[in-house]
Symmetry: C2
Subunit: 397 residues, 2 copies
Amino acid sequence: MTDFTKTRELFHMPDGLIYLDGNSLGPLPKAAQARVARMMTEEWGERLIRGWNDCGWMAQPTRVGDRIGRLIGAPAGTVTTGDTLSIKVYQALAGALEMRPDRKVVLSDTGNFPTDLYMASGLLDTIGRGYELKLVEPEAVEDAIDDSVAVLLLTEVDYRTGRLHDMAGLTAKAHAAGALTVWDLAHSAGALPVDLAGAGADFAAGCTYKYLNGGPGAPAFIYVAPEHADAARPALSGWLGHEAPFAFDLDYRAGAKIERMRVGTPPVIALAALEAALDAWDEVDMADVRRASIALGDLFIAEVERRCPGLELGSPRDGNARGSQVSFLFDEGYAVMQALIARGVIGDFRAPKTMRFGFTPLYIGESEVLAAAEILERVIAGRLWDRPEYRTRSAVT
Amino acid sequence: MTDFTKTRELFHMPDGLIYLDGNSLGPLPKAAQARVARMMTEEWGERLIRGWNDCGWMAQPTRVGDRIGRLIGAPAGTVTTGDTLSIKVYQALAGALEMRPDRKVVLSDTGNFPTDLYMASGLLDTIGRGYELKLVEPEAVEDAIDDSVAVLLLTEVDYRTGRLHDMAGLTAKAHAAGALTVWDLAHSAGALPVDLAGAGADFAAGCTYKYLNGGPGAPAFIYVAPEHADAARPALSGWLGHEAPFAFDLDYRAGAKIERMRVGTPPVIALAALEAALDAWDEVDMADVRRASIALGDLFIAEVERRCPGLELGSPRDGNARGSQVSFLFDEGYAVMQALIARGVIGDFRAPKTMRFGFTPLYIGESEVLAAAEILERVIAGRLWDRPEYRTRSAVT
């Protein structure tokens, strides 16, 4: 049984803050702070170039990948880290598309996070030759899978609503139609149990700055199913994915399995932060996290609906059908969120009217949920959001 | 006049070490250490998601890009940072190629750093349609530029020999033949004066962990000439290159100018290290750096040739024809380098027989050069390299 009073102690949380935005940026793990300080002084500072050998920097991307793999049902040696989620989606999609050369359709949905769609469209424009990015509503995905589809590109948890796709079911349907799957786990990894191998997923990618608490702009990860790992061409064929990077050959020869999905020189400092952040998961059972996060989300929904009848639930009511966040819709959602933030309740806002609240049991408990609902009630009932300063949009909304 | 006794104080250098490998990984700037510590505790730790607005994280990539721009002759607003050099080369090459749709040849040379060739070949395979990556010897590049060439893809300073390409001359020749240029500045930025705008370069990219001292795996930079900035399609079209990332549109619309070359969420912690590292350049005149680095390289060549007649110079003898490094060739170069490292002289080795020594006046002076040459003499004359432990290759050679 996971002891959430202990995991809470692993994070730095500013006094008086109710942080319900771990779905956007996880808080600072104390271990990451210490690890990065050591990285700067003892590794970079003292070992300099020797750190690549002495401090294990070169093996770091896949070593960290294996630790993430344990949380997402990926066998050892099938996950590596680096770059950004956008880049890893591009690699995964390019690899998958070439394995279905006779098909020209990438199927995705309008609930996918935009960067996945942008990267896909950039890739298809680069390839040219009549490819199509076909978008349907999330609910229509299952019926849209047919034998024209080369790749099904989906984000498991909808970033706006928290709605959860059925990864195993849709993957099976895609395979039955002869298509491959690329799953984006941005809002899944660390939020809920994921079983990539069990679901038969072909490719997956995710970010680590949300529920994995790797820090702002932390490196992404990519998964390639073992049966594809030696077949997939890494379209972004950088030197660290080469079979022998330090032979400095003029010709590219893809490295073995997941190593070929590495691209350039790894982001050593950021990976050190991420590696230390993953320590928090050592004593955690993901099934416990899931149970607790559903309970926190259910409690928040009940409290908010009781206290703020003007807000509309923007997430599935059934906890098993949503990820680890709850959204409420309100025309003045942006101003309400600013008013909440000014009162120490941090969620975030997604245009046009979604207020998102993330529930991460590693460092959030019932008392924070109750306090947040109470403050939300005061803001709504007292129209405290109705001030010019809360309506002024900032660069990052 | 740059005061190199002052710049030396800006770096942490381990006691007793003679560090001639800043061309691979620059040393730790004290300012970067302090800045990253603040980033972890005061920004990530205390501000959490609010850091994107409060701490300027969102504007960081292009703000840092402008500071690099000053060192490479790039006007404000033409450089941004993020990703790795491999990724930025891919973006630059893809953008350039599409601007010459009637041509199918990418011309490069065998002295280019392999990852540039690997990324180019990955891109051409993705595009398909009969593209060719044509490689010639570095000395043959000029004559190989003809009207079949779409893009000339070169690294200004050869990573093995330090040989310097004539950026202005080759760019002019390329333009006269109707081709565009992509310059890799990995061994140029911070090593010698670069004048991208003056040379008329179309695209450029570089890394920041060498002479710019940004830390292991620090983010890369990309330059797009002002006349191309609103025309070049960013093949890696991530959400932060979108005209309005936080509108979460389903369709990609490229952002203005260099902003479109941003891809995913920026690596905030690594960029903080880099931004602080760039402080070292505030009081530095690049012409002084160049003069001093040539003098150090000349001194090293003279000392080594006098003391170690068995070594063959692998770099241009004329300081104006080489970058900021000097290479010597020796069949047992790997073992010699290990023996040197064991004696506190850090250079590096590139297969099959290149020993590289980098001279960076910001923290290296004559006394280190003389001491390094003396230790090299002892290693060679005494055959101190001839031990099994120095011949065992490590992961990163």
